[in-house]
């Protein structure tokens, strides 16, 4: 396994009495693609800015290769940032923008030329050297910003919603290009976004944040399949979240139903939240063959699948299937034990209390 590169220990930041980042702990390994994911105001950008050296933490430590980074000014840190709106130098051409960091480090002219040219080639901007940055398109500016940061060969690249200003198609393309770049240069990326799809596509590790608190750390698969609380389940993908009771290990009850599941380790009769992803609900034509009986009340064609709302006696289920069941039809629904994710209830509330401390 790769060694630890950055460690955040009880990192805290407050603005006028409001806690933006609340005592978070996070370890980032070499060559990892880590995404900080959360709604706006969740503290993800603040965390990134503290690593970059643009905000001073009020409490806690930032360790870089085991050494304390807190009091090192931004210009001495071996990390580089791709800013949200690129923050390019409008008074310089593309070449000078990319060469900026190297010139400050007094790298020799021929070396600068070699590295800048190589970097521009990598980001597909060969021949744009003399262009002024505000004559470039959004996607091109984005590439300049990445080249400007990467040319310094930082150990870590910080990216603050780098694709936020691009349109959907370009964003998808850039996601793949960024991933390729990260693989080929082999450095750590810390990526901030509020777009869950982007996070799932690109990351080795996703850190879900809300209200300054880390909700869950895990691989995209972990986060999607096994959200640890209601917030994560709700924020990542679509889901049916149901309040229920964990009777004993592997047995969960809700709406008068008793279902098998694969979760354990709860107290007897502990109230829990149950997540069932819409694609995990199977529909059978004969209502009596299903665990839950319901009526289809709405059908929307989504391209790959149909999205249906099926109403049982007690609640509505969101279901995604490739086969369509017409509105009004009565059907049965089944869920595999492995597709039922049981979460402790109240994790979100708990963290909110922590915040007030």
């Amino acid at each position: 396994m790769n060694k630890n590169l950055i460690e955040l220990k009880n990192l805290t930041k407050r603005y006028n009495g409001m806690t933006a980042v609340d005592s978070i702990n996070l370890t980032i390994k070499e060559n990892e693609f880590v995404t900080l994911l959360g709604p706006s105001g969740c503290g993800k950008t603040t965390t990134l800015r503290m690593i970059g050296g643009f905000e001073d933490p009020d409490d806690g430590e930032i360790l870089f290769e085991g050494k304390l980074l807190n009091n090192v000014p931004a210009y001495k840190r071996n990390v580089n940032t791709v800013f949200q709106r690129y923050a390019l130098f409008t008074h310089m051409n593309v070449y000078e923008n990319v060469a900026f960091g190297l010139r400050i480090k007094k790298v020799s002219k021929s070396e600068i030329d070699r590295r800048v040219k190589r970097m521009l080639k990598m980001v597909d901007l060969e021949g744009f050297d003399k262009r002024y940055v505000d004559s470039l398109s959004g996607g091109q500016q984005q590439r300049v910003a990445i080249a400007r940061a990467l040319v310094n060969e930082p150990k870590v690249l910080l990216l603050d919603e780098p694709l936020g200003a691009l349109d959907l198609k370009l964003r998808k393309e850039m996601q793949i290009e960024l991933l390729d770049m990260q693989r080929s240069v082999g450095i750590t990326f810390i990526y901030v976004t509020h777009d869950q799809e982007e996070a799932l596509t690109m990351s080795d590790t996703i850190v879900v944040m809300n209200k300054g608190v880390i909700q869950q750390i895990g691989t995209p698969q972990d986060i999607y399949n096994e959200p640890t609380n209601r917030f994560v389940a709700d924020f990542i993908g679509e889901s049916n979240i149901i309040e229920g009771t964990m009777l004993e290990d592997f047995k969960v009850a809700f709406d008068g139903l008793l279902l098998d599941c694969v979760d354990k380790g709860f107290a007897p009769n502990e109230p829990v939240d149950i997540v069932i992803r819409p694609e995990d609900i199977r529909i059978v034509v004969n209502p009596d063959e299903g665990m839950i009986k319901g009526t289809v009340t709405s059908v929307v064609f989504k391209g790959v699948h149909y999205e249906m709302i099926i109403e049982s006696d007690t609640r509505e289920y969101l279901v995604q299937r490739t086969m369509m069941f017409p509105e009004g039809s009565v059907v049965g629904m089944n869920v595999q034990p492995a597709d039922i994710q049981v979460m402790k209830r109240g994790d979100v509330l708990c963290s909110e209390e922590e915040e007030e401390e």
């Binding site: 970059g52 050296g53 643009f54 000014p73 931004a74 210009y75 001495k76 840190r77 990390v79 580089n80 940032t81 800013f83 949200q84 709106r85 923050a87 390019l88 130098f89 409008t90 008074h91 310089m92 051409n93 900026f100 960091g101 400050i104 480090k105 003399k130 262009r131 002024y132 004559s135 400007r148 940061a149 310094n152």
Partner: protein, 281 residues
Amino acid sequence: MQRRGRGRIAYPYVVWMAIFIVVPLFLILFYSLTEGDIHNIKDLKFSLNSYNRVLEPIYLKVIGNSFLLAGISTLICLIIGYPVAMIIANTDIKYRNLLLMFFLVPIWMNFLLRTYAWMSLLSPNGLVNRFLLWIGLPKLEIMPGKGAVLLGMVYNFLPFMVLPIYTVLSKIDKHVIEASNDLGGNSVTTFMRVILPLSIPGIVSGITMVFLPAVSTFVISGLLGGGKTPLIGDLIEQQFLSSRNWHFGSSLSIILMIMILISMAVMSRIDSSPEEERRKI
């Protein structure tokens, strides 16, 4: 069609401009190129005499002095004013407008009064000298003279330097400065390579806004220079009001206009050089 037709409502103003803006300037050009009795147009003859007169050493010295003093005062305004603009731009938004307002209040006061105020401060028995005497320093005898004129120019035109620079500085994206830090620039490098180049448009318009009134003033030199260091403005005023030599006054005006035009062209070149490069590609 209809839109174009409505352009006609500007025609009366075009006529007005022709009469009160264009014709007067042509009159000046006309008088500068003639000699004779100005009240008798038939008597006027083409002549370059008044331009020749401008070339006499005594007048060349006056013109040189005007540009020198205006240049020095512009430079002083830039050196004093840039930090002021930076400090105001970096002030917390809550106090920034107030600070700016107090900086600008003096320019709202009548220009003559402000200059007059320095007359009483700088006179041989004025407060500045009393103060210097009191702390045991020698008298400051700059008024009337070049020193006082310079001081008056700096005092009156400093805000015109600060304001455009402040405007540009306050519009610089904070992230650009962070980007420079991020790429290894400390505060000195960041200033030299990012902030200063980005503020050049402000500096250029500041220089224009100070230099222009400074080079053509006759009030400041008249009140604070005491006639010892006449500037081109004083000369023009004299020719039109006391000597009544319109021909010479007109040629001086034309020379002043041409020199200002040249300096403005030079300044706008500096300002737009990146854009021009951009267009070349």
